[in-house]
């Protein structure tokens, strides 16, 4: 299996893209083994935010949908951490911050200490 799969790139080569990478454990929710990185280039629509692009991706993967969102509030759940352009969500971006062409989002599993 290649280390990175850009499943949508053939369809969206001419459009503005956000790159969403699922890393390590989170790949289990998008068909991976838990030990690689699976990436997705998503075409951006006007006004897209961190929330809308994550929502669009997770709608394709039921397990990711369940892990990413809190079913009661519709906000991010407790299980997956979001990093935008190298900074944790909350540092420079919020869930409703606008996403621009070339932005990168990383999804990590929740930390489990001990």
């Amino acid at each position: 299996m290649p280390s990175e799969i850009d499943r949508d790139s053939a369809l969206v080569q001419e459009e503005a893209l956000v790159q969403i990478d699922t890393v390590a454990w989170v790949t289990r929710y998008v068909g991976g083994s838990g030990s690689d990185r699976i990436g997705f280039g998503l075409a951006l629509a006007p006004g897209d935010t961190v929330r809308t692009v994550l929502r669009r991706l997770s709608q394709r993967f039921p397990q990711l949908q369940r892990a990413l969102w809190d079913p009661t509030s519709g906000e991010l759940g407790e299980h997956i951490e979001v990093v935008v352009n190298g900074a944790i969500l909350g540092v420079r971006h919020g869930l409703d911050s606008e996403i621009k062409d070339g932005d990168r989002i990383l999804l990590f599993g929740q930390y489990m200490g001990g």
Binding site: S73, M112, G113, G114
Partner: protein, 632 residues
């Protein structure tokens, strides 16, 4: 008054007076069991009632409480649990620290819910328990042995192996009163916080050795218990977070925390991996499968969490070691600039064998390595030892110097706070600790604000509230902005209590990562009670209030609730670069105090809270002169 022993309990506590070598049992009433449960709950009660402020950590009348809980020994995952409660050597305040393995189950099968040591032996002893046979035996043959050798020796002496006998004790570090000495047992399980091993060493107890007893345990509702155990196991296997624990233990932590800026690297000097480091080798499956390994599960546990492994290469090739937990990879590895997996794994077991806390080791040795690099500590001070970032063999030599208190090891044995303060100068600014004397768990808390606040305000010498587990069940949001000072402080304060409930059941912190409702179902099936989420949290907050009152009485107050300069510094790079907690610190404390309903000035639980928690009997002592002006 009800007199019978509730299901799940053995029904008595073992008391050991070391000074007079006297041993007796103490029954507890069903009411006490319900109010104090076990583990840290019972431990906090005994500590508060029996250790007055003038009894310091090294005083013979300090208590060392090894307690289990109502689920230990029953067929619920991870129920071999041990909680150690004492006045600890790092903060000279309350301690609650957990280990797993088989100790808790074996203790219950011999007929005891807890062991309470008091006094100080006049010779080195170990406590031998096999049902009604409870003896203090001479430990001369065990002196100087590391924690694994000690267990080998006792296994051979008694002709037992595997899980027929559980041995928990101290290594050379505990014998030599290293302040961050641990109590370790069952080859790789460690009660590590607040120098509980130094307390054991001061009492001249080398080990507790429990042969698996022959007493049966009764569940009030056996069918209900199996159903609750099944529900918990199902949740652990399918919950998006605990599923990773189920499959790979804490191994995913390295990659996850690096991505979040919370993997401590080289004593908080950077949050970026060294150039050329292949992180795919650090992902959980690669980390586990890079070694020959096999499961090393605790009592009644179906998690694939603990493993033993064989070192595949390097100078110690072929050695059997304990697969490091996440905090082993960080404390014995990344925190000291070591990213060689095999060397880290070896060093991690060396640390367990010597009997010191791997987290404190990481902060201490990382600090030494930085100080050597910057010229604050010289080679001569280290007895001629060459030390540089990432050198596992040098780190081990430092470990041995510390465990034997040789050269600078004698100073380092006091822990990073005291060592850095005594060395002074610019070296003091590089050390990571809380002003209480404790140090963080194995994370970079500059990207985990809730943990820094919890570590600094907690009364146990480590995290007290812990991470949010299914917070919605407690009416809390599933997620907050981790850098919102108000939200963080409210969350940490609101979570208070859950962790103490878990740590009183005799179960592992990882197998209790289910709903409180599920845990109550198991508890109720075991005991016949009708515990609810509300009663569980009230119990936990009562335990918090007791530990807090104990600490305040010992002089550990709000003025010590802050991080050291480096601990509270600003990350220079990585995913949390530029984020500063320091400007928000006092406000976060304000919000936290308001949330937990403790008095901001004295640090004490307020009288109305004490009444609500059933601790009104503490008011006259705690608030004797304060009530007229501050009572609510």
């Amino acid at each position: 008054m009800e007199t019978s022993v509730p299901g799940g309990y053995a029904g008595q506590i073992l008391r050991v007076d070391l000074t007079n070598e006297r041993i007796w049992t103490q029954p507890l009433s069903p009411q006490d069991y319900r109010q104090y449960l076990g583990g840290v709950g019972i431990g906090a009660k005994i500590l508060y009632e029996e250790v007055p402020p003038d009894v310091q950590w090294d005083h013979p009348e300090n208590r060392l409480i090894l307690a289990t809980g109502p689920l230990a020994g029953l067929p619920v995952w991870g129920t071999g649990g041990l909680t150690v409660v004492t006045r600890g050597a790092m903060t000279n305040g309350a301690t609650s620290t957990q280990a797993n393995g088989f100790f808790g189950a074996n203790l219950k099968y011999s007929g005891y819910d807890a062991i309470v040591f008091q006094g100080q032996a006049n010779r080195w002893v170990y406590l031998y328990i096999k049902d009604d046979t409870v003896e203090l035996r001479d430990a001369a043959q065990l002196l100087g042995k590391d924690t694994w050798e000690m267990q080998d020796t006792l296994n051979a002496e008694h002709g037992l192996s595997g899980h027929q006998m559980s041995v928990y004790g101290i290594g050379p570090a505990g014998e030599n009163l290293i302040r961050f000495a641990v109590i370790a047992g069952d080859y790789g399980h460690v009660a590590s916080k607040n120098g509980c091993g130094a307390v054991m060493g001061k009492k001249q107890v080398k080990a507790v050795c429990i042969v698996r007893g022959s007493r049966g345990l009764r569940a009030a509702d056996a069918r209900g218990l199996y159903q609750a155990a099944d529900d918990i196991a199902y949740d652990l296997k399918t919950d998006p977070s605990t599923r990773s624990l189920y499959e790979y233990g804490t191994l995913p932590g390295v990659v996850n925390l690096l991505g979040l800026g919370a993997l401590p690297i080289k004593n908080y000097t950077t949050n970026e991996k060294p150039e050329g480091t292949d992180m795919s080798l650090w992902e959980a499956p690669a980390l586990r499968n890079g070694f020959d390994h096999r499961g090393h599960q605790c009592s009644a546990c179906g998690m694939h969490h603990c493993h033993m492994q064989v070192l595949p290469s390097g100078p110690h090739q072929g050695k059997i070691v304990d697969e490091p937990e996440y905090e082993g990879w960080s404390g014995a590895g990344w925190a000291i600039g070591l990213t060689d997996r095999v060397a880290t794994s070896w060093l991690n077991t060396q640390i367990d064998r010597a009997g010191v806390d791997v987290n404190e080791f990481g902060w201490l040795i990382g600090w030494v390595m930085e100080c050597v690099e910057k010229g604050y500590i010289t080679k001569e001070q280290l007895g001629g030892l060459e030390v540089r970032w990432g050198d596992a063999e040098a780190a081990d030599q430092l470990l041995q110097l510390i465990a034997q208190r040789q050269h600078l090891g004698d100073l380092l044995a006091e822990g990073v706070k005291r060592a850095s303060e005594r060395l002074g100068g610019p070296a003091a600014d590089c050390a990571i600790y809380t002003m209480k004397g404790s140090t963080p768990r194995g994370h970079d808390h500059r990207a985990r604000w809730e943990e820094m606040l919890d570590t600094c305000t907690g009364s146990t010498g480590t995290l007290e509230s812990g991470a949010a587990v299914k917070p919605q069940e407690m009416g809390l949001p599933a997620r907050i902005n981790p850098f919102d000072p108000d939200a963080v402080a409210k969350l940490v304060g609101s979570l208070q209590g859950r962790r103490h409930f878990e740590d009183s059941l005799g179960a592992c912190i990882f197998t209790t990562r289910t709903t409180i409702e599920n845990l109550c179902c198991a508890l109720n099936a075991a005991t016949g009670w009708d515990y609810t989420l509300g009663e569980a949290l009230r119990f936990g907050r009562r335990t918090s209030a007791l530990l807090r009152a104990f600490n305040i009485r010992c002089g550990i107050g709000p003025e010590l609730e802050k991080p050291s300069k480096r601990y509270g510094s600003v990350p220079v790079n990585g995913p949390a670069a530029g984020i500063a907690i320091e400007p928000h610190w006092e406000h976060m404390l304000d919000v936290w105090y308001e949330t937990v309903r403790y008095d901001r000035k004295t640090g004490l639980p307020k009288p109305d809270l004490l009444r609500e928690l059933g601790l009104e009997h503490l008011i006259p002592e705690l608030w004797a002169e304060e009530v007229p002006s501050r009572a609510v």
